[in-house]
Assembly symmetry: C2
Homo-oligomer: 228 residues x 2
Protein backbone atom coordinates (compact mmCIF):
# COMPACT_ATOMS: atom_id res chain seq x y z
CA UNK A 1 0.00 0.00 0.00
CA UNK A 2 1.47 3.35 -1.01
CA UNK A 3 1.19 6.34 1.21
CA UNK A 4 -1.15 9.07 0.05
CA UNK A 5 0.62 12.36 -0.48
CA UNK A 6 -1.15 15.67 -0.70
CA UNK A 7 0.13 18.67 -2.63
CA UNK A 8 -0.03 20.43 0.74
CA UNK A 9 2.46 18.05 2.41
CA UNK A 10 5.66 19.84 3.34
CA UNK A 11 9.15 18.63 4.26
CA UNK A 12 10.71 19.56 7.60
CA UNK A 13 12.96 22.57 7.11
CA UNK A 14 13.16 23.74 10.72
CA UNK A 15 16.92 23.20 11.12
CA UNK A 16 18.07 24.94 7.95
CA UNK A 17 20.46 27.88 8.01
CA UNK A 18 19.37 30.54 5.54
CA UNK A 19 21.60 32.97 3.71
CA UNK A 20 20.38 36.16 2.09
CA UNK A 21 22.57 37.66 -0.63
CA UNK A 22 22.05 41.38 -0.81
CA UNK A 23 20.46 41.10 2.60
CA UNK A 24 21.16 44.70 3.56
CA UNK A 25 18.22 46.02 1.54
CA UNK A 26 14.79 46.27 3.12
CA UNK A 27 13.42 43.09 1.57
CA UNK A 28 16.49 41.07 2.53
CA UNK A 29 16.51 42.45 6.06
CA UNK A 30 12.79 41.86 6.37
CA UNK A 31 13.05 38.23 5.29
CA UNK A 32 16.05 37.76 7.61
CA UNK A 33 14.00 39.13 10.49
CA UNK A 34 10.98 36.88 9.85
CA UNK A 35 13.02 33.71 9.34
CA UNK A 36 15.05 34.43 12.47
CA UNK A 37 11.84 35.01 14.44
CA UNK A 38 10.74 31.58 13.15
CA UNK A 39 13.88 30.06 14.69
CA UNK A 40 16.25 29.85 11.71
CA UNK A 41 19.89 30.81 11.83
CA UNK A 42 20.16 33.56 9.23
CA UNK A 43 23.21 35.00 7.50
CA UNK A 44 22.87 38.40 5.88
CA UNK A 45 25.25 38.82 2.97
CA UNK A 46 26.71 41.91 1.33
CA UNK A 47 29.76 42.69 -0.78
CA UNK A 48 30.94 44.50 2.34
CA UNK A 49 31.01 42.29 5.46
CA UNK A 50 30.93 45.33 7.78
CA UNK A 51 27.78 46.58 6.13
CA UNK A 52 26.21 43.13 6.47
CA UNK A 53 27.09 43.08 10.17
CA UNK A 54 25.48 46.49 10.64
CA UNK A 55 22.30 45.32 8.87
CA UNK A 56 22.11 42.29 11.18
CA UNK A 57 22.63 44.55 14.20
CA UNK A 58 19.73 46.78 13.03
CA UNK A 59 17.25 43.97 13.62
CA UNK A 60 15.49 43.08 16.86
CA UNK A 61 18.09 42.34 19.59
CA UNK A 62 18.73 38.68 20.29
CA UNK A 63 17.71 37.33 16.89
CA UNK A 64 19.99 34.61 15.45
CA UNK A 65 21.15 36.81 12.53
CA UNK A 66 24.77 37.46 11.57
CA UNK A 67 26.34 39.40 8.74
CA UNK A 68 29.13 38.29 6.42
CA UNK A 69 30.42 38.83 2.90
CA UNK A 70 28.30 37.25 0.15
CA UNK A 71 30.80 34.44 -0.56
CA UNK A 72 30.87 33.33 3.08
CA UNK A 73 27.08 33.44 3.24
CA UNK A 74 26.74 31.42 0.02
CA UNK A 75 29.19 28.82 1.36
CA UNK A 76 27.80 28.46 4.87
CA UNK A 77 24.05 28.62 4.32
CA UNK A 78 21.92 25.56 3.51
CA UNK A 79 19.50 27.55 1.37
CA UNK A 80 20.46 30.87 -0.24
CA UNK A 81 17.98 33.64 -1.02
CA UNK A 82 18.96 36.15 -3.70
CA UNK A 83 17.71 39.64 -2.83
CA UNK A 84 20.26 41.77 -4.68
CA UNK A 85 19.25 44.74 -6.85
CA UNK A 86 18.44 43.67 -10.41
CA UNK A 87 21.37 45.53 -11.91
CA UNK A 88 23.85 43.48 -9.89
CA UNK A 89 22.00 40.19 -10.28
CA UNK A 90 23.97 38.44 -13.01
CA UNK A 91 27.42 39.54 -11.84
CA UNK A 92 26.77 38.60 -8.21
CA UNK A 93 25.60 35.12 -9.14
CA UNK A 94 28.44 34.56 -11.62
CA UNK A 95 30.93 35.38 -8.87
CA UNK A 96 29.36 32.83 -6.50
CA UNK A 97 28.92 29.87 -8.85
CA UNK A 98 31.28 27.59 -6.91
CA UNK A 99 29.85 28.44 -3.49
CA UNK A 100 26.27 27.89 -4.71
CA UNK A 101 26.91 24.54 -6.38
CA UNK A 102 24.34 21.93 -5.39
CA UNK A 103 22.37 24.38 -3.25
CA UNK A 104 18.81 25.56 -3.40
CA UNK A 105 18.95 29.16 -4.59
CA UNK A 106 15.76 31.16 -4.11
CA UNK A 107 15.54 34.14 -6.41
CA UNK A 108 13.18 36.90 -5.28
CA UNK A 109 14.46 39.65 -7.58
CA UNK A 110 11.97 41.72 -9.58
CA UNK A 111 13.42 43.31 -12.74
CA UNK A 112 11.46 46.57 -12.76
CA UNK A 113 11.87 50.01 -14.19
CA UNK A 114 10.31 53.17 -12.81
CA UNK A 115 9.15 56.39 -14.44
CA UNK A 116 6.56 59.09 -13.78
CA UNK A 117 3.74 56.61 -14.44
CA UNK A 118 5.05 54.15 -11.89
CA UNK A 119 6.67 50.75 -12.21
CA UNK A 120 6.90 48.50 -15.24
CA UNK A 121 8.50 45.16 -16.07
CA UNK A 122 11.93 45.21 -17.69
CA UNK A 123 12.68 42.77 -20.49
CA UNK A 124 15.13 40.03 -19.46
CA UNK A 125 17.15 38.15 -22.04
CA UNK A 126 16.59 34.80 -20.33
CA UNK A 127 12.89 35.55 -19.73
CA UNK A 128 13.05 36.35 -16.02
CA UNK A 129 15.48 36.90 -13.17
CA UNK A 130 14.88 33.33 -12.00
CA UNK A 131 15.69 31.94 -15.45
CA UNK A 132 18.80 34.10 -15.58
CA UNK A 133 19.87 32.64 -12.23
CA UNK A 134 19.27 29.13 -13.56
CA UNK A 135 21.33 29.91 -16.67
CA UNK A 136 24.20 31.38 -14.64
CA UNK A 137 24.06 28.62 -12.00
CA UNK A 138 23.58 25.36 -13.92
CA UNK A 139 24.72 23.30 -10.92
CA UNK A 140 22.34 24.93 -8.42
CA UNK A 141 18.66 24.25 -7.82
CA UNK A 142 17.04 27.57 -8.69
CA UNK A 143 13.57 28.42 -7.45
CA UNK A 144 11.67 31.71 -7.70
CA UNK A 145 9.74 32.90 -4.63
CA UNK A 146 9.05 35.79 -2.22
CA UNK A 147 8.58 38.33 -5.03
CA UNK A 148 5.48 40.03 -3.67
CA UNK A 149 6.14 40.28 0.01
CA UNK A 150 6.10 43.81 1.41
CA UNK A 151 9.40 44.84 3.00
CA UNK A 152 7.48 47.37 5.11
CA UNK A 153 5.30 44.65 6.63
CA UNK A 154 8.22 42.23 7.08
CA UNK A 155 10.04 44.85 9.15
CA UNK A 156 7.01 46.12 11.07
CA UNK A 157 7.08 44.87 14.67
CA UNK A 158 3.34 45.51 14.86
CA UNK A 159 2.60 42.95 12.14
CA UNK A 160 2.39 39.48 13.68
CA UNK A 161 1.08 37.67 10.59
CA UNK A 162 1.81 38.19 6.91
CA UNK A 163 -1.43 38.07 4.94
CA UNK A 164 -0.29 36.65 1.60
CA UNK A 165 0.67 33.52 -0.28
CA UNK A 166 4.14 33.04 -1.69
CA UNK A 167 4.08 31.80 -5.27
CA UNK A 168 6.90 29.29 -5.66
CA UNK A 169 8.02 28.61 -9.24
CA UNK A 170 10.56 26.04 -10.30
CA UNK A 171 11.27 22.83 -12.16
CA UNK A 172 12.73 20.84 -9.21
CA UNK A 173 9.86 19.40 -7.19
CA UNK A 174 11.87 18.61 -4.07
CA UNK A 175 13.47 22.07 -4.05
CA UNK A 176 10.16 23.87 -4.61
CA UNK A 177 8.60 21.87 -1.79
CA UNK A 178 11.45 22.94 0.51
CA UNK A 179 10.86 26.59 -0.40
CA UNK A 180 7.11 26.19 0.11
CA UNK A 181 7.92 24.81 3.55
CA UNK A 182 10.18 27.77 4.29
CA UNK A 183 7.42 30.19 3.35
CA UNK A 184 5.07 28.39 5.72
CA UNK A 185 7.51 29.00 8.60
CA UNK A 186 6.43 32.66 8.61
CA UNK A 187 3.07 33.10 10.36
CA UNK A 188 0.26 33.82 7.92
CA UNK A 189 2.18 32.88 4.79
CA UNK A 190 1.59 29.85 2.64
CA UNK A 191 3.95 28.66 -0.07
CA UNK A 192 1.89 27.75 -3.12
CA UNK A 193 3.42 25.98 -6.10
CA UNK A 194 3.02 28.46 -8.95
CA UNK A 195 4.30 26.67 -12.04
CA UNK A 196 7.55 26.08 -13.85
CA UNK A 197 10.49 28.43 -14.13
CA UNK A 198 9.46 29.39 -17.66
CA UNK A 199 6.42 31.04 -16.06
CA UNK A 200 8.48 33.06 -13.56
CA UNK A 201 8.44 36.29 -15.58
CA UNK A 202 4.83 37.16 -14.91
CA UNK A 203 5.21 36.49 -11.18
CA UNK A 204 8.18 38.88 -11.02
CA UNK A 205 6.53 41.44 -13.30
CA UNK A 206 3.31 41.40 -11.29
CA UNK A 207 5.19 43.30 -8.60
CA UNK A 208 4.75 46.36 -10.85
CA UNK A 209 0.98 45.87 -10.61
CA UNK A 210 1.18 45.53 -6.84
CA UNK A 211 3.04 48.85 -6.72
CA UNK A 212 0.17 50.45 -8.68
CA UNK A 213 -2.36 48.82 -6.36
CA UNK A 214 -0.48 50.07 -3.30
CA UNK A 215 -0.48 53.58 -4.68
CA UNK A 216 -4.19 53.60 -5.58
CA UNK A 217 -5.45 51.94 -2.40
CA UNK A 218 -2.77 53.17 0.02
CA UNK A 219 -2.09 49.53 0.89
CA UNK A 220 0.65 46.94 1.23
CA UNK A 221 -1.05 44.51 -1.09
CA UNK A 222 -0.26 40.84 -1.51
CA UNK A 223 -1.92 37.90 -3.25
CA UNK A 224 -3.87 34.96 -1.93
CA UNK A 225 -4.65 31.99 -4.14
CA UNK A 226 -8.27 30.86 -3.74
CA UNK A 227 -9.61 27.28 -3.81
CA UNK A 228 -6.19 25.95 -2.75
CA UNK B 1 -15.82 71.57 0.77
CA UNK B 2 -14.97 68.81 -1.69
CA UNK B 3 -16.50 65.40 -1.37
CA UNK B 4 -14.18 62.65 -0.20
CA UNK B 5 -13.86 59.86 -2.72
CA UNK B 6 -12.54 56.43 -1.88
CA UNK B 7 -10.75 54.17 -4.34
CA UNK B 8 -13.53 51.71 -3.52
CA UNK B 9 -16.32 54.03 -4.76
CA UNK B 10 -18.04 52.58 -7.81
CA UNK B 11 -20.32 54.09 -10.47
CA UNK B 12 -23.81 52.70 -11.06
CA UNK B 13 -23.69 50.25 -13.95
CA UNK B 14 -26.90 48.34 -13.26
CA UNK B 15 -28.68 49.35 -16.46
CA UNK B 16 -25.91 48.56 -18.92
CA UNK B 17 -26.35 46.08 -21.75
CA UNK B 18 -23.27 43.89 -22.11
CA UNK B 19 -22.01 42.29 -25.28
CA UNK B 20 -19.58 39.38 -25.36
CA UNK B 21 -17.63 38.87 -28.58
CA UNK B 22 -16.70 35.24 -28.97
CA UNK B 23 -19.32 34.52 -26.37
CA UNK B 24 -19.90 30.94 -27.49
CA UNK B 25 -16.77 29.67 -25.70
CA UNK B 26 -17.01 28.55 -22.09
CA UNK B 27 -15.58 31.74 -20.62
CA UNK B 28 -17.86 33.94 -22.72
CA UNK B 29 -20.93 31.86 -21.90
CA UNK B 30 -19.98 31.78 -18.25
CA UNK B 31 -19.63 35.56 -18.03
CA UNK B 32 -22.90 35.97 -19.96
CA UNK B 33 -24.61 33.71 -17.45
CA UNK B 34 -23.31 35.55 -14.38
CA UNK B 35 -24.04 39.03 -15.74
CA UNK B 36 -27.55 37.96 -16.77
CA UNK B 37 -28.14 36.49 -13.31
CA UNK B 38 -27.08 39.89 -11.96
CA UNK B 39 -29.84 41.50 -14.03
CA UNK B 40 -27.97 42.74 -17.11
CA UNK B 41 -29.22 42.34 -20.66
CA UNK B 42 -26.49 40.30 -22.33
CA UNK B 43 -25.76 39.76 -26.01
CA UNK B 44 -23.62 36.78 -26.95
CA UNK B 45 -21.71 37.39 -30.16
CA UNK B 46 -20.24 34.99 -32.70
CA UNK B 47 -19.26 35.16 -36.35
CA UNK B 48 -22.29 32.91 -36.84
CA UNK B 49 -25.52 34.37 -35.43
CA UNK B 50 -27.17 30.92 -35.29
CA UNK B 51 -24.33 29.60 -33.19
CA UNK B 52 -24.61 32.59 -30.87
CA UNK B 53 -28.35 31.98 -30.50
CA UNK B 54 -27.71 28.34 -29.59
CA UNK B 55 -25.11 29.37 -26.97
CA UNK B 56 -27.64 31.75 -25.42
CA UNK B 57 -30.27 28.99 -25.42
CA UNK B 58 -27.83 26.65 -23.61
CA UNK B 59 -27.93 28.85 -20.52
CA UNK B 60 -30.43 28.75 -17.67
CA UNK B 61 -33.99 29.26 -19.04
CA UNK B 62 -35.40 32.74 -18.61
CA UNK B 63 -32.12 34.62 -18.45
CA UNK B 64 -32.01 37.90 -20.42
CA UNK B 65 -29.40 36.59 -22.90
CA UNK B 66 -29.70 36.73 -26.68
CA UNK B 67 -27.32 35.72 -29.45
CA UNK B 68 -26.36 37.73 -32.52
CA UNK B 69 -23.49 38.17 -34.95
CA UNK B 70 -20.44 39.97 -33.52
CA UNK B 71 -21.10 43.21 -35.43
CA UNK B 72 -24.66 43.50 -34.11
CA UNK B 73 -23.43 42.78 -30.59
CA UNK B 74 -20.66 45.38 -30.87
CA UNK B 75 -23.16 47.96 -32.14
CA UNK B 76 -25.96 47.32 -29.63
CA UNK B 77 -24.10 46.70 -26.38
CA UNK B 78 -23.09 49.52 -24.01
CA UNK B 79 -19.93 47.69 -22.90
CA UNK B 80 -18.28 45.01 -25.02
CA UNK B 81 -16.27 42.12 -23.58
CA UNK B 82 -13.74 40.45 -25.88
CA UNK B 83 -13.56 36.70 -25.23
CA UNK B 84 -12.45 35.43 -28.62
CA UNK B 85 -9.63 32.90 -29.04
CA UNK B 86 -6.23 34.57 -29.18
CA UNK B 87 -5.59 33.56 -32.78
CA UNK B 88 -8.64 35.48 -33.98
CA UNK B 89 -8.13 38.46 -31.67
CA UNK B 90 -6.58 41.03 -33.97
CA UNK B 91 -8.72 40.24 -37.04
CA UNK B 92 -11.97 40.26 -35.08
CA UNK B 93 -11.25 43.64 -33.51
CA UNK B 94 -10.05 45.15 -36.80
CA UNK B 95 -13.35 44.15 -38.42
CA UNK B 96 -15.38 45.85 -35.65
CA UNK B 97 -13.50 49.14 -35.37
CA UNK B 98 -16.47 51.28 -36.41
CA UNK B 99 -18.99 49.49 -34.19
CA UNK B 100 -16.69 49.74 -31.15
CA UNK B 101 -15.89 53.43 -31.56
CA UNK B 102 -16.28 55.33 -28.28
CA UNK B 103 -17.19 52.20 -26.32
CA UNK B 104 -15.61 50.55 -23.34
CA UNK B 105 -14.00 47.37 -24.64
CA UNK B 106 -13.01 44.85 -21.97
CA UNK B 107 -10.34 42.45 -23.15
CA UNK B 108 -10.13 39.17 -21.23
CA UNK B 109 -8.04 37.23 -23.74
CA UNK B 110 -4.99 35.29 -22.53
CA UNK B 111 -2.35 34.68 -25.22
CA UNK B 112 -1.14 31.23 -24.13
CA UNK B 113 0.56 28.28 -25.73
CA UNK B 114 0.33 24.69 -24.53
CA UNK B 115 2.74 21.77 -24.69
CA UNK B 116 3.46 18.63 -22.67
CA UNK B 117 4.68 20.74 -19.74
CA UNK B 118 1.48 22.76 -19.58
CA UNK B 119 0.69 26.35 -20.45
CA UNK B 120 3.06 29.21 -21.13
CA UNK B 121 2.74 32.86 -22.15
CA UNK B 122 3.03 33.69 -25.85
CA UNK B 123 4.98 36.78 -26.88
CA UNK B 124 2.74 39.56 -28.21
CA UNK B 125 4.12 42.26 -30.48
CA UNK B 126 2.21 45.03 -28.69
CA UNK B 127 3.08 43.61 -25.25
CA UNK B 128 -0.26 42.05 -24.40
CA UNK B 129 -3.66 41.26 -25.86
CA UNK B 130 -5.08 44.34 -24.15
CA UNK B 131 -2.41 46.56 -25.69
CA UNK B 132 -3.05 44.98 -29.07
CA UNK B 133 -6.75 45.82 -28.67
CA UNK B 134 -5.84 49.40 -27.77
CA UNK B 135 -3.59 49.65 -30.84
CA UNK B 136 -6.25 48.23 -33.16
CA UNK B 137 -9.07 50.29 -31.59
CA UNK B 138 -7.62 53.78 -31.04
CA UNK B 139 -11.12 55.27 -30.69
CA UNK B 140 -12.32 52.79 -28.06
CA UNK B 141 -11.67 52.76 -24.32
CA UNK B 142 -9.79 49.50 -23.83
CA UNK B 143 -9.57 47.89 -20.42
CA UNK B 144 -8.17 44.46 -19.46
CA UNK B 145 -10.12 42.35 -16.96
CA UNK B 146 -11.68 38.94 -16.18
CA UNK B 147 -8.52 37.05 -17.22
CA UNK B 148 -8.41 34.65 -14.30
CA UNK B 149 -12.01 33.69 -13.80
CA UNK B 150 -12.73 29.98 -14.09
CA UNK B 151 -15.22 29.14 -16.84
CA UNK B 152 -16.09 25.96 -14.96
CA UNK B 153 -17.14 27.91 -11.87
CA UNK B 154 -18.96 30.59 -13.89
CA UNK B 155 -21.11 27.89 -15.48
CA UNK B 156 -21.60 25.78 -12.36
CA UNK B 157 -25.17 26.20 -11.00
CA UNK B 158 -23.91 24.96 -7.62
CA UNK B 159 -21.52 27.91 -7.25
CA UNK B 160 -23.40 30.90 -5.80
CA UNK B 161 -20.36 33.12 -5.19
CA UNK B 162 -17.16 33.52 -7.15
CA UNK B 163 -14.21 33.58 -4.75
CA UNK B 164 -11.75 35.86 -6.56
CA UNK B 165 -10.84 39.43 -7.34
CA UNK B 166 -10.84 40.74 -10.90
CA UNK B 167 -7.71 42.71 -11.71
CA UNK B 168 -8.73 45.64 -13.89
CA UNK B 169 -5.92 47.24 -15.91
CA UNK B 170 -6.23 50.34 -18.03
CA UNK B 171 -5.27 53.95 -18.56
CA UNK B 172 -8.81 55.43 -18.55
CA UNK B 173 -9.88 55.94 -14.94
CA UNK B 174 -13.60 56.33 -15.64
CA UNK B 175 -13.65 53.24 -17.86
CA UNK B 176 -11.68 51.13 -15.39
CA UNK B 177 -14.03 52.19 -12.60
CA UNK B 178 -16.99 51.10 -14.74
CA UNK B 179 -15.40 47.70 -15.29
CA UNK B 180 -14.60 47.39 -11.58
CA UNK B 181 -18.26 48.09 -10.91
CA UNK B 182 -19.30 45.43 -13.42
CA UNK B 183 -17.07 42.87 -11.70
CA UNK B 184 -18.72 43.74 -8.39
CA UNK B 185 -22.14 42.89 -9.87
CA UNK B 186 -21.21 39.19 -9.66
CA UNK B 187 -21.56 37.87 -6.10
CA UNK B 188 -18.19 37.28 -4.43
CA UNK B 189 -16.15 39.16 -7.00
CA UNK B 190 -14.41 42.46 -6.47
CA UNK B 191 -12.95 44.56 -9.24
CA UNK B 192 -9.54 45.81 -8.12
CA UNK B 193 -7.60 48.39 -10.09
CA UNK B 194 -4.45 46.55 -11.16
CA UNK B 195 -2.33 49.13 -12.94
CA UNK B 196 -1.88 50.62 -16.40
CA UNK B 197 -2.32 48.87 -19.71
CA UNK B 198 1.46 48.55 -20.08
CA UNK B 199 1.31 46.16 -17.13
CA UNK B 200 -1.42 43.97 -18.68
CA UNK B 201 0.96 41.31 -19.98
CA UNK B 202 1.74 39.76 -16.64
CA UNK B 203 -1.93 39.65 -15.67
CA UNK B 204 -2.76 37.78 -18.88
CA UNK B 205 0.31 35.54 -18.65
CA UNK B 206 -0.41 34.66 -15.02
CA UNK B 207 -3.27 32.52 -16.32
CA UNK B 208 -0.56 30.00 -17.29
CA UNK B 209 0.47 29.84 -13.62
CA UNK B 210 -3.13 29.37 -12.54
CA UNK B 211 -3.39 26.43 -14.94
CA UNK B 212 -0.32 24.89 -13.26
CA UNK B 213 -1.81 25.56 -9.84
CA UNK B 214 -5.11 23.97 -10.87
CA UNK B 215 -3.30 20.87 -12.07
CA UNK B 216 -1.16 20.49 -8.95
CA UNK B 217 -3.90 21.20 -6.42
CA UNK B 218 -6.90 19.91 -8.39
CA UNK B 219 -8.48 23.32 -7.95
CA UNK B 220 -10.15 26.16 -9.80
CA UNK B 221 -7.80 28.76 -8.43
CA UNK B 222 -8.24 32.51 -8.50
CA UNK B 223 -6.50 35.45 -6.87
CA UNK B 224 -7.48 37.72 -4.00
CA UNK B 225 -5.63 40.94 -3.33
CA UNK B 226 -4.89 41.38 0.38
CA UNK B 227 -4.91 44.64 2.37
CA UNK B 228 -7.29 46.23 -0.15
Amino acid sequence: MTQQTSPHDLPDVAGLTLGILGGTGDQGKGLARRFALAGHQVLIGSRDAERAARAAADLDPGLPVRGADNATVAREADVVIVAVPWDGHRATLESLRAELEGKIVVDCVNPLGFDKQGAYALPVEEGSAAQQAAAVLPDSRVIGAFHHVSAVLLLDPGVAEMDLDILVVGDDREASDMVRALAARIPGMRGIYGGRLRNAHQVEAFTANLISINRRYKAHAGLRVTDV
